[in-house]
């Protein structure tokens, strides 16, 4: 499901003395089936943009097209539910959205809101728990007894249980240990292939962008600063620095190597690319 922004502007609290413009003239497309990374400095409007993806916020000017639904400033708040089922958002620190007595009921909450029967929803819950890598014995536990990492997984399972076609992740790995981070990012990548999801990832981790995304949107002060493939975005370290963004670790290292006289045709983004490029330079065989 593609999501298309046309001249979208958004103002918080319009018409009051506290009005602040968060988005200006956004023209961007999130292609169907892409893994899009949304990056930008804190306060650049990423989270505001993200809430437009399932009409939690409606644009104050312009239109957002989600699949075949067109959201305009005049769109009524009624019957947006169908849309929200198709676009699942995992908010920052999603563990704070857990509320049910048991893990199973909490995961089943989403599907039930969209009309699934209780039995079906609970069955989905069991599947989802396995999918996010948790033990089935947790199903009957209270979500508040779990560890932080487990709670996060349950919350994500709750979103996945709605079987969305677009999965929006707002810093899903913030506050997790390195092992947990890697597992979670791998899980999303796997899910994307298995279910042919469109993934939108908001992150400050440039390594994740380099490793997983195939499309990058850079935001700055409520505007789209640049779009392109990770390869294109990370080729210009100077430009990134001007927009308060960093490089993936590998690219930063490659840059240091360049300062010492090693040449690259293109700055490598991942460890594999760097290793290949170096092996090539040393006259080794490339795969």
């Amino acid at each position: 499901m593609a999501i298309d922004f046309k001249q979208v502007g958004f103002t918080y609290q319009p018409g009051t003395p506290f009005a602040t413009q968060a988005l200006t003239d956004i023209n961007v497309t999130i292609p169907d089936g892409s893994y899009t990374a949304l990056i930008g400095h804190t306060g650049s409007g990423k989270s505001t943009l993200l809430q437009h993806l399932n009409a939690l916020l409606k644009p104050t000017t312009g239109t957002v097209t989600i699949g075949d639904r067109v959201i305009t400033p005049e769109t009524s708040n009624k019957d947006l539910k169908a849309l929200r089922q198709h676009v699942g958002i995992v908010f920052q620190f999603p563990e704070s959205q857990l509320f049910e007595e048991t893990v199973a009921k909490d995961i089943a909450f989403g599907p039930q809101n969209f009309g699934a029967s209780e039995a079906d929803a609970l069955k989905t819950a069991a599947d989802m728990l396995a999918l996010v890598g948790l033990d089935a014995e947790l199903l009957d536990r209270s979500p508040f007894d779990l560890s932080g990492g487990q709670m996060r997984r349950v919350a994500i399972a709750g979103v996945l249980a709605m079987a969305p076609q677009v999965l929006v992740l707002d810093e899903p790995t913030a506050g997790l240990d390195p092992q947990g981070r890697l597992e979670m990012m791998e899980m999303f990548a796997k899910l994307r292939h298995e279910r042919e999801l469109t993934v939108v990832l908001v992150t400050h981790q440039m390594d994740d962008v380099a490793n997983y995304a195939d499309h990058v949107i850079v935001m700055d002060q409520g505007k789209i600063a640049k779009t392109g493939t990770p390869q294109e975005i990370f080729q210009d370290p100077q430009w990134l620095a001007e927009h308060h963004l960093g490089l993936p670790k590998t690219t930063a290292f490659a840059q240091q190597l360049m300062a010492k006289g090693i040449q690259f045709d293109q700055l490598p983004l991942t460890e594999d690319q760097l290793a290949q490029a170096l092996a090539h330079q040393l006259g080794g065989a490339t795969q």
Partner: protein
């Protein structure tokens, strides 16, 4: 939703009113609400309005803020005024009479007076909150409550609770907004359906809010203990309130206003 509420917000600024001592502002605002009831004729109300508008002018805050402050309460005000107009005892010329409903000259005049009182009270209290940071207000309340220590009222603890509560109001509002959005994304319809459906929809919002408040309280208590907090007694203060000449002048202005009001009430 709640963002529209101007009442109770603070707008940073650097006017005479902003720099006044919060104790003076708090006490004088209460005093003002008290003396509004001295007014009983048009001359007194004109004087009160002139005084309030002067105070607003001095604060340098835009007029629109005050108008917006009245807006959310306009229905309550109109309801009270209409009740007053329709059901007050007849006096002066009677314009309309039907059963127990009487519209009389006295009723209309009283309606206008009540409207003025509401607007004055809202303007003055909005002025207080718009020009005083919440923490200064809680300092002022702590100071004003001090005499109650004689009867073993836990002044420090109450002041601490107050300042923590004030500090966390915006944080909790953000949290509420966030959880509402998260639950909406999971298919909850807030504010739709009949009253029972609406009440049920609140559960997925309330429970996470309570849980996060408990967690927050525990974290905060631990952090406070780790920084050596052992109770209110015997602490020194970082923010020290200072009564200055402008506060004395303001108090004098209110005294003059009171005398003028009483004079106008008696002789006009």
């Amino acid at each position: 939703m709640m963002n529209k509420l101007i009442f109770g917000r603070y707008i940073p600024g650097d006017s005479v009113i902003h720099r006044m001592d919060p104790r003076a502002k708090l006490l004088l605002s209460f005093y003002f609400i008290g003396i509004i009831f001295i007014a009983n004729n048009w001359a007194t109300y004109v004087l009160l309005f002139a005084f309030t508008l002067l105070a607003i002018k001095l604060s340098g805050v835009k007029w629109s803020f005050f108008i917006n402050g009245v807006k959310p309460l306009i229905w309550l005000i109109l309801f009270t005024v209409i009740l007053q107009v329709l059901f007050s005892a007849s006096g002066g010329t009677v314009y309309f009479k039907w059963g127990i409903i009487t519209i009389s000259q006295l009723g209309l005049v009283n309606g206008v007076y009540i409207f003025c009182r509401f607007v004055l009270i809202i303007f003055m209290s909005t002025l207080l909150t718009l020009t005083t940071p919440p923490l200064e207000l809680s300092d002022a309340i702590e100071y004003i409550l001090m005499p109650l220590k004689v009867v073993h009222f836990p002044v420090y603890e109450v002041a601490l609770m107050l300042s923590i509560a004030l500090r966390f109001v915006p944080t909790l509002m953000d949290e509420t907004e966030k959880i509402m959005n998260a639950q909406r994304a999971r298919g909850v319809d807030f504010g739709e359906g009949n009253i029972f459906q609406q009440m049920r929809a609140i559960v997925p919002l309330l429970i996470p809010l309570f849980v996060s408040s408990f967690n927050r309280a525990e974290d905060l208590a631990t952090a406070m203990e780790a920084r050596g907090y052992q109770g209110g007694e015997g602490r020194s203060k970082y923010r020290i309130l200072k009564w200055q000449a402008r506060d004395t002048w303001a108090t004098l202005a209110f005294a003059v206003l009171t005398v003028a009001l009483v004079g106008l009430r008696l002789y006009v």
